[in-house]
């Protein structure tokens, strides 16, 4: 049984009080650039999933509390939650540092993009 804590309202409960919402940080390509969405991008958005054995990043919903969606970092082998963070946020830097494989690539790209946006502005 997982014990989940909502970072929005602070409610803590077991997994039946929450709703597991699948992989986190999936971006809908049509939101960013509706005119140029390739079939491959749409496939990646709808179906391709990072499915790591180890640290994973997910969406959860606080079903019986505030009803808000939020993010969680969880190990898929030990079932241990590493962090809960807001729906618009990135995980804490120490958790990002533990990410491996496709997640490590994703966060490197995302952080790089944000850094260049900041320096550009």
């Amino acid at each position: 049984m997982l014990v989940v804590k909502c970072p929005v309202c602070g409610a803590e409960g077991d997994e039946t009080d929450f709703h597991a919402g699948g992989q986190a940080h999936v971006r809908r390509p049509a939101t960013c650039d509706p005119a140029h969405v390739t079939d491959a991008e749409q496939r990646d958005y709808l179906f391709i999933r990072i499915n790591p054995r180890g640290l994973h990043f997910e969406r959860w919903r606080c079903d019986r509390g505030c009803g808000k969606w939020f993010h969680a970092a969880r190990d898929t082998v030990t079932m241990e939650f590493k962090a809960f963070y807001g729906i618009t946020e990135l995980p804490p830097m120490d958790v990002i540092a533990q990410a491996k494989g496709q997640w490590a690539e994703y966060f490197a790209k995302r952080l790089g993009a944000e850094r260049s946006r900041e320096t550009g502005a």
């Binding site: 049984m1 997994e15 992989q23 496939r43 179906f47 499915n51 969880r74």
Partner: protein, 417 residues
């Protein structure tokens, strides 16, 4: 050639206090090079190796397995065999598998205990009743033997069922596939392993794949914990761990790995002689030859590689079945376990070539792979041997996710998802 199992060999070995039985398969050291290597010695992988050797005369092949053969989902399912899916591509492959099961014991000279005891899928809402009527029509058009049965017939087939018309989900009827049933899951893996081994296939256990070698876009070999194995044809059949293996070749998969649990009760006298699936309340049950009630339900809703599921999922399943079969409410449960199932977006399997030449993948069977083992092995072997999809495997290609050509069984079929 191995000595055949028969009543005479049984009698002969009984005279010798069973000291002279031969090992069912060898434990060879891996060779440097093979014509093809299958990754994963579960039912699907071993069946693929068996049909590669038998139908396509490829005997210089190996099956590598990180644990022991049949130790994953093949040994963890609820052994239900049926083919009553809605979509034509699904019917084709599951019915091929079911029909191969019928004479599999003779084919393998190994008793897989296929028992066509009938599969009864309850209709507990008006919507479910109409959905199953639609499935029944589709199945009969495809030549499947099935029919809808009335609540009275349901009670005759399964006398222990709760037929109270005033309960929350009353039985309104059922879909019945009399040729479905159960099999002995371990024996299917062991039978295919013994058959493949007899034709010269090397089954290498305790050999974990750690990397996939490529020469340009062509697969060139496998790095394993027992050394490098060179091969130009690799078939990946690793169910819940398929994303991890395919990641080694740089192929990203439309798969999420989740835990599906099952449990058995203490053994009791025969009370139910068919498989009953109650999809509205979400549970299914049959009785094993040992007398244990074999019970399964739905997956946990989140990714999991631990082979241990969550308690709420089990509680939900058991609650549903106690409502459906009130007499089981005082039974004690003996064992529970979990398997890591590979779920695709449309809940249909993937049998496919990949962007890497010579790398093939067979996965995505999710919560219903056992019933498909012979058919899956048959078409996947053909796909590997001829480097083009078998006609039955063709709709299950990886490209369907890009083309939007889904085989949508997640809402369509009579599947307990």
């Amino acid at each position: 050639m191995k000595p055949r199992y028969s009543v005479f060999s049984l009698a002969r070995n009984a005279m010798n206090y069973h000291k002279d039985w031969e090992r069912a398969w060898r434990s060879p050291a891996p060779k440097k090079e093979y014509d093809a290597v299958i990754v994963g010695a579960g039912g699907h992988g071993l069946a693929t190796a068996y049909y590669l050797a038998k139908n396509h005369k490829m005997t210089n092949i190996a099956v590598v397995e990180k644990g022991w053969l049949g130790g994953g989902n093949t040994g963890r399912n609820t052994t239900i065999i049926r083919s009553n899916y809605l979509q034509d591509p699904s019917i084709a492959i599951y019915e091929l598998a079911r029909s191969l099961y019928e004479d599999l014991s003779q084919e393998l000279n190994y008793n897989v205990m296929f028992s066509p005891r009938g599969v009864l899928m309850l209709c507990q809402t008006q919507h479910e009743f109409r959905a199953f009527q639609r499935t029944a029509h589709a199945n009969r058009l495809a030549g499947l033997d099935c029919r809808m049965v009335t609540p009275q017939e349901v009670k005759e087939i399964v006398p222990i069922i709760n037929d109270d018309p005033n309960c929350r989900y009353p039985i309104l009827g059922a879909y019945y596939q009399p040729r479905g049933g159960t099999g002995r899951h371990d024996a299917v893996a062991w039978g295919y392993a013994r058959g493949a081994d007899a034709m010269g296939v090397d089954i290498i256990q305790n050999c974990e794949v750690t990397g996939i070698q490529r020469e340009g876009s062509q697969a060139a070999g496998l790095e394993t914990t027992r050394g490098v194995i060179r091969t130009r044809k690799i078939g990946v059949v690793t169910a819940g761990h398929v994303s991890t293996i395919m990641d080694m070749a740089g192929v990203r998969m439309p798969i999420e790995s989740q835990c599906l649990q099952a449990l058995v009760s203490e053994p009791i006298k025969p009370v139910i002689d068919c498989v009953v699936m109650a999809n509205t309340v979400h549970g299914y049950m049959s009785q094993s030859d040992k007398g244990e009630l074999v019970i399964g339900g739905g997956t946990d809703p989140y990714n999991n590689y631990s082979q241990r599921g969550s308690f709420p999922a089990l509680e939900h399943t058991v609650a549903a079945l106690v409502e459906t079969f009130p007499i089981i409410s005082r039974l004690r449960m003996l064992r529970m376990w979990g398997g890591i199932v590979d779920m695709t977006g449309d809940r249909s399997p993937i049998i496919s070539r990949t962007p890497v030449e010579g790398l093939y993948v067979n996965c995505g069977w999710g919560t219903g792979g056992f019933k498909a083992i012979p058919g899956s092995g048959w078409v996947f072997a053909d796909t590997i041997a001829n480097d083009r999809p078998h006609p039955i495997a063709e709709p299950f290609g990886l490209n369907r996710f890009e083309e939007g050509r889904l085989i949508d069984e997640s809402v369509a079929a009579a599947v307990a998802h």
